[in-house]
């Protein structure tokens, strides 16, 4: 009895406190304006950031109608820009449902950390937003396509990126993996590229290719094919296709191989005091499309196809590695990290020299292709007379 009254009293006191002081984090859902995506540009003078947000505007009516809306505001820092934006927008901008962040090339070249830090430190922004680099001159025009296409473009882009595992057109980077890459030693970051493409007279953003970073600065791009090779090396392919040109008599015929499964292993080897990376790739594919009547399905044909595919894969992968080594000198494949994990002793010695070492690193590719099935047909199509 006694303790009950005591408890009641404490409740009363607490309640009093609250009623007098009001409530703090309470915010009505309809006072918020949901930000679907953000784009970050440099202003023309170069000393300010331009923050563009794509917001979802909801009209009330019989059924809810959502419209995409963009808004661009400048500020000395990103938080400053956001604050300026809040003073314009009637409703409070709410970032927890933001899906993508697009960086312009200028920003990326200057150093991504400057903007990534705000994205990561902000408690409201989720760390699973997708980060992209715009191949267009500004980042905001990507988001601005939304109002023309009646789509929330950020959500669409997010969906596209989430499908990348099976398309293998661009690396998918959520903010937190990006932070891991930027912070980790022995690996450089890559980001997906987004550009505008004309489809049926409409301009739509398309995610293809890779932006290559060194430290946190943008140094160049990889095209779609190189991107796929990069993803192969990073063991991030779970689908997509390989196109194999026929050889010899069948030079004109192409065979499409659908990737069913892929597993890549990086193995650092120490040979005569020299570090080498051996890339072992095990891929299971299915024949998906044969342009022509050449029989790739019986055993000799299949073996031949496997072998030629392996070879072209090896060539293409080694080319990419070499290109990155010579052109960008940025360890986007994570060779260094692998060395650190497997040979911590060696890594300790070479860590500071890695920038130079990577350039001359010998990399060998050992692909192993297995054809598992030939889709719905057991034979190539026959063309009768």
């Amino acid at each position: 009895m006694k303790s009950t009254s005591k408890i009641l009293s404490v409740i009363l006191i607490l309640a009093n406190t609250l009623f007098l002081a009001g409530c703090w984090n309470y915010r009505e859902i309809d006072t918020l304006r949901f930000v679907a995506g953000i784009a970050i540009d440099k202003s023309e003078t170069g000393d300010q950031y331009l923050l563009t947000v794509e917001t979802v505007d909801i009209k009330n009516g019989g059924e809810s109608i959502m419209n995409s809306n963009t808004m661009t505001v400048a500020g000395d820092t990103l938080l400053d820009a956001k604050k300026n934006m809040d003073s314009i927008s009637g409703k409070k901008l709410y970032f927890a449902h933001t899906r993508i962040a697009v960086l312009s090339q200028d920003v990326a070249k200057e150093g991504a950390v400057k903007v990534i830090d705000w994205l990561a430190r902000n408690a409201e922004l989720r760390e699973d937003i997708e980060v992209l680099v715009s191949q267009e001159s500004t980042a905001k025009e990507i988001l601005e396509t939304g109002s023309k296409t009646d789509q929330i473009i950020s959500f669409e882009l997010d969906k596209v990126l989430k499908n990348q595992k099976t398309i293998a057109n661009a690396p998918e980077k959520e903010l937190w993996t990006l932070i891991n890459d930027l912070g980790g030693s022995g690996i450089s970051a890559v980001l997906p590229l987004v550009s505008l493409k004309k489809v049926n007279s409409r301009t739509l953003p398309s995610v293809t290719g890779t932006a290559v970073f060194k430290k946190d600065k943008l140094v160049g791009f990889l095209n779609v094919d190189d991107t796929r090779d990069l993803l192969f090396i990073q063991n991030k392919v779970d689908g997509g296709s390989l196109v194999q040109n026929g050889e010899g008599d069948n030079a004109g015929t192409k065979v499409s191989l659908k990737i069913l499964e892929n597993r890549t292993k990086l193995k650092p080897i120490e040979k005569d005091g020299n570090l080498e990376i051996s890339i072992e790739i095990k891929t299971t594919v299915a024949i998906d499309e044969i342009e022509g009547t050449e029989n790739y399905i019986d055993e000799p044909g299949r073996l031949r196809l496997e072998k030629s595919a392996e070879e072209s894969m090896k060539k293409s992968l080694e080319n990419v590695v070499q290109e990155v080594q010579t052109k960008y000198n940025s360890d986007i494949f994570g060779f260094g990290a692998k060395v650190k994990a497997d040979m911590p002793g060696t890594w300790k010695e070479i860590e500071t020299l890695w920038g130079g070492k990577f350039k001359d690193l010998k990399v060998s590719v050992h692909p192993e292709l297995t054809i598992k099935n030939s889709a719905a047909f057991s034979q190539p199509l026959r063309i009768g007379d």
Binding site: K2, S5, K6, S9, L12, I13, N16, T17, L20
Partner: protein, 69 residues
């Protein structure tokens, strides 16, 4: 805030201290009274926005001096 603190403490004293007084548990009453005064002083100062020196600081400096950091 100040008013709130005083009001709450009046309430607490009525419900927490008075029964001890009525039951004539003088020891309990005394110790409780001392504690009440202590917490009231702190709460009062907090409500007045007076910076109260943290009791942790001397501990911190003591240990740093011992460790010689």
């Amino acid at each position: 805030m100040v008013v709130l603190v005083i009001f709450s403490y009046a309430f607490i004293i009525y419900l927490d201290l008075m029964p001890l007084y009525r039951k004539k548990l003088w020891r309990d009453f005394g110790v409780n009274m001392a504690l009440t005064l202590l917490t009231f002083a702190i709460a009062f100062l907090i409500s007045l926005d007076v910076a109260i020196p943290s009791p942790v600081n001397p501990i911190k400096s003591l240990i740093i001096s011992i460790l010689g950091k």
